[in-house]
Symmetry: C2
Subunit: 254 residues, 2 copies
């Protein structure tokens, strides 16, 4: 039986809590949060506390707070015997106090309120400083997901950077697509099947093979028409820099 103390009350904490609370081999002993109201989500199924000094002993501490708060929160836990983990993609394991049994438990997914995530498919990246702690984290990760990976702090940093491109930046391109549609009185939902197929296609083709569009075709006539019809300066700059980058990557010049 693995006992868990969860620190944090945000989206990731809630998603982890919902997944872990019914697992037979796991007991969530306590959820810590600064804000009493935010803890109400967890109260039905676990003990909660706003008092840092009353945190219980557990096999694993999962610190699911903002990156900036990881060091402060973890320093309050240096006397605990369990494995101290944070859940951040971009923070090194060394941000945790060196006297602790340090670890990282990073689920590589985007978590929003009101979106159920299929955890079985979420890659969970674990890191620890010795085999024993690594095995503990792998056990926890395997109870949630079929995709458990050992990933170093340096690799995780790059993975997080790659995730910014494929998730945060892609979502921003969706928003630009929506703005262009709305300007022309077209429902953004018309683009839904294209967006989904773009994401699915790279399961069977590499992004390099899947690339289509005016830039890779060197279709300067269409590129010029597009640049003219874009009104928003941001959108123009993004169109230009991405078209250029596609042409450079695929060996053609504008």
């Amino acid at each position: 039986m693995l006992s868990i103390v969860l620190l944090g009350t945000g989206n990731l904490a809630k998603h982890l809590f919902d997944e872990l609370k019914d697992k037979g081999n796991i007991k969530i002993k306590q959820v810590y949060g600064r804000n009493k109201k935010a803890l109400s989500y967890f109260q039905k199924d676990a003990l909660t506390t706003t008092n840092f000094n009353s945190i219980e002993e557990a096999s694993i501490y999962i610190i699911a707070v903002s990156d900036d708060a990881i060091t402060t929160v973890s320093e309050g836990l240096i006397n605990k015997k369990g494995v101290l983990t944070h859940t951040s993609g971009s923070v090194a394991i060394s941000a945790l106090p060196s006297s602790a049994r340090r670890g990282v438990f990073y689920p590589l997914q985007t978590f929003s309120a009101n979106r159920v995530v299929n955890f079985k498919e979420v890659p969970i990246c674990v890191e620890a400083e010795n085999n024993k702690d690594l095995e503990v984290l792998k056990k926890l990760a395997s109870s949630l997901s079929g995709k458990v990976l050992e990933v170093s702090s340096s690799q995780r940093k790059d993975l997080h950077l790659a995730a910014v491109f494929v998730n945060n930046f892609t979502n921003h391109l969706y928003q630009i697509g929506q703005e262009i549609c709305e300007k022309s009185q077209i429902s953004f939902s018309v683009l839904g099947p294209l967006i989904l197929e773009t994401a699915l296609k790279i399961k069977t083709l590499s992004p390099q093979e899947a690339q289509t569009g005016p830039a890779i075709r060197n279709d300067n006539g269409t590129i010029e028409k597009h640049m003219k019809s874009l009104q928003n300066k941001n959108h123009k700059d993004i169109y230009s820099i991405l078209s250029n980058s596609i042409q450079k990557t695929h060996g053609k010049k504008l």
Copy 2:
């Protein structure tokens, strides 16, 4: 019964052909291509020709050739009685000869060799110059898809531009994500579930609501770390311009 002559032998022509050839209310009378070898794909199920002068009469001519070739191909069909359509997102209906019954038949999807597309889900944008021709095109479109839309040339131009952002540019971001992963010896497939969830999320949240990441959080520490770790000048520029655009769009400044 609608009779069809298909002009072109590329990905879209093949996908349309495969969908149309078994429909009870449709007969593909002929496929035209300049290249005899490229026609072999169609020979088993339809008549084919490389001779422009032997093109048959049909209810609808579907010109599925590159944008540049649309005018030339369509000018060879001015004496035909059927509706003359092209399949391009970015070309106006007026690119077809004014003496013809002009129309547009634009399936909004990305078509690749070796990828089966579920046509029932593909929005098909139709345009014509009179109701009778519009009804003919809608009948054809409805036999393929549950999503048939009447879209003007001006709207279709914007839709195509939006598609460049959400499909071509998004795919390029995937490629950058892959390059970052590979540099760090991580399999790109690890990002698959995140990419899919990013695409699925906008079915229930608007892109504006779904936006996450260092830029919208105004997390300049992480942005600086990312900028430092990016080696490729293109990738740096793209990171910077998209982060800036997210912050401008969401009302924050770098």
